[in-house]
Symmetry: C2
Subunit: 420 residues, 2 copies
């Protein structure tokens, strides 16, 4: 047992997922078990809110609310894409931690967030504020290194596969003319999400089942090859179902049909529009009717068809983070470790935050078939277990009932923070 | 009991829905109860397939398959957007009916399809081929006249409301900056689908809940009013959720951001792109970040979150069609009639096909609030019961299992048909 006693703070960062709140529920439930944790605080809108001293008392939330978090999509604490850069921002975070006696800090996020958690912890150590910082992985992109996979990934691909299956049936029914259907999905640098759509086939490498073609950021895109691929599929089927990752690039590394050069706070390009580009390319070059759909953020928020396996692991990662901190670990992120057996199993581990921060795990090239537009058995073996099981969401008046926290504020003890 | 004895034929037409197969299941189940119906045939791809004599034996399908149709989206028999125009096409249809002794014809579709069924029946009467033609309503657009509502509508709006609720939570979580989120939904001429998104609020006229703004084809669109609406919402909330029907028009009646002048086989304009237009308009005029999503055909195919009420009524309409034909009715469409009581109830009726054909039921202007971008209690009262209940879809390996028919072909007895 740790001798460290004080308050804990959990916050969320980056793009939400269908299960990031399950991790917060795991943190809160486990924290209640340990007497060395006095107050259980939530930070609103990640480090941006912590800078403003916007803390809520999570122990005051009803049990119903904390249970409801397990099936509620998006970030119930609010999130941010704000990057801590200035020394005065880091110092302010530490000041908030000191004033509120934060000794256990849990940050649920992707690699930028793990980097932030690491820097805060290092600063605390250098200033003599004893604390433990544990990261909890979260990203639909599945691109964190070290961990076998990331909470959030299984649910986003389950939602996409469900949609692919349903759209494909609709598509097949319109059997009168050739038809190309294009679904644009998320995935900034790595094709994990687009690749995951291949599970809609039902674990089989059946070329007649949708999706027929998957375009990944890992495979440089050329219009010639694309038109050839579509022609090949249409020579067998009257319909061709295309899934494309938003981060598709040409052989020079330029995004295909990036609508503008806009970037977000982390300098990442804002993507979108490659689905429309693929639609126009088919219509203009092959004279064949094409349709495109862009699920946008609905794909990552689709808790109503999220994966129970993913949800359970997200919750487990939250619990594991608390246990790790209590046992004296710090500057680590919880990882998911897959068992060696044929039957899928998953347990948690720990890895240094600095190993996670700013690393990116690409989809292994050897999991992509030679045609460049489909996935092989290694990918199926990897991804299939992650979409298993259906989360039961309560319904009322025909719609899913999601939880909004009461958000009882912790009294501020500092003046306003000056943002740059 | 009818003295007419012979085979029955059921076919599907127009855009699929999440519950159109439930109507076919209703036809097949009810047809099995009546000895005057000898064979139960399905026509593939609507009248287009019937012209080609592409018939399948539905009684040969396994019971599992027919049961599976009740939760399988899209048109299991295939569909078409082919319009019968030429005399030789009508004559050919009749020839197929005569050769295969089709005495009971059930056509599941929208107003174009009911028009087609009516014309076929009238021709049969003039040629002395005794038969009964009964239409079964189907359209997500909910724009058929006479019937209180259409099977398919409840499910598409339930799916959209689920997505609105989930996207809105995601949206709210990104609380750092103002954000406008735009969801483009289907709806060619009438705003029933876009209006249905208002149910995501949970039956309450709460201006703080998404969707905040709904743009309907019934309300002429101007950029000035739109920007004013967005500014008003953002003065209360950091997020503004916009739902827009694809058939949005400006005060001159031109589609907003129609990408091309292309039309389908019925002369209807091919729409899309108004969501992107609304996104760009906000970004360029207000300098506020905006996102858009276009659910495309996924919204009408989303059987995994379809409405049990809608599904039950689609099935009931199929059964009612058979019973009507058996009892001697013809040239009628099954309608849905809402009970007078406060507690929602629904039974079937019949209306002449010619009353349905080519009529369009617009969203009543008096159900739209004065602001032009929200719906009042009359709409909520009308639409709320239609999304009630969740259809249980079987899952395997984490994904919904849908049914594909075996499609055992009925032997052709005629030569090939020459299309124009």
């Amino acid at each position: 047992m740790s001798e460290l006693t004080g308050n804990c703070l959990v916050a969320q960062s980056g793009g939400p997922t269908a299960v990031i709140n399950a991790s917060v529920a795991g943190v809160v439930s486990e924290a209640l078990n340990h007497e060395c944790i006095e107050e259980i605080y939530g930070g609103l809108n990640g480090v941006h809110g912590i800078l403003n001293e916007e803390l809520i008392d999570l122990a005051e939330e009803s049990q119903q609310n904390i249970r409801g978090l397990r099936h509620t999509p998006a970030s119930a604490l609010g999130t941010c894409r704000f990057k801590l850069r200035r020394d005065e921002d880091f110092a302010r975070i530490l000041e908030v931690f000191e004033k509120h006696n934060i000794r256990f800090f849990f940050y649920v996020g992707g690699n930028d967030s793990q980097d932030t958690a690491n820097k805060i912890s290092k600063l605390a150590q250098s200033r003599g504020h004893e604390m433990r910082a544990i990261g909890i992985p979260k990203t639909i992109d599945n691109d964190l290194v070290v961990t076998d996979h990331c909470p959030g990934y299984g649910s986003v691909i389950k939602s996409i596969c469900t949609t692919v299956r349903e759209m494909a049936l609709d598509h097949e029914a319109m059997g009168q003319h050739d038809l190309v259907s294009i679904l644009e999905v998320m995935g900034r640098n790595a094709g994990w999400i687009a690749a995951g759509a291949s599970l809609a086939k039902g674990n089989k490498e059946n070329p007649d089942l949708a999706p027929h073609l998957i375009y990944l950021p890992e495979v440089p895109f050329t219009t010639e090859k694309y038109l050839e691929d579509v022609r090949r599929v249409l020579s067998r089927n009257k319909h061709c179902f295309v899934v494309v990752g938003e981060g598709l690039v040409d052989p020079d590394g330029n995004y295909v049909s990036t609508s503008s050069g806009a970037t977000d706070a982390f300098g990442h390009a804002q993507l979108g529009g490659c689905g429309d580009f693929l639609q126009r390319t088919v219509e203009e070059n092959l004279g064949i009717k094409a349709r495109s759909a862009k699920l946008g953020i609905s794909q990552r928020a689709a808790a109503h068809c999220s994966s129970q396996a993913d949800n359970d692991e997200a919750y487990m990662a939250g619990e594991a983070a608390v246990r790790a901190a209590i046992s004296g670990e710090t500057d680590k992120m919880v990882t998911l470790i897959r068992g060696d057996e044929d039957q899928y199993s998953c347990e948690t581990g720990l890895a240094p935050l600095e190993d996670i921060a700013n690393g990116v795990k690409m989809l292994p090239q050897e999991w992509i078939n030679e045609d460049g537009v489909s996935m092989n058995y290694q990918f199926f073996k990897y991804a299939s277990p992650l979409i298993k099981g259906e989360v039961e969401v309560p319904y009322e008046h025909g719609l899913p009932q999601y939880t909004r926290l009461s958000k009882n504020r912790v009294q501020k003890q500092l003046g306003d923070h000056k943002f740059e």
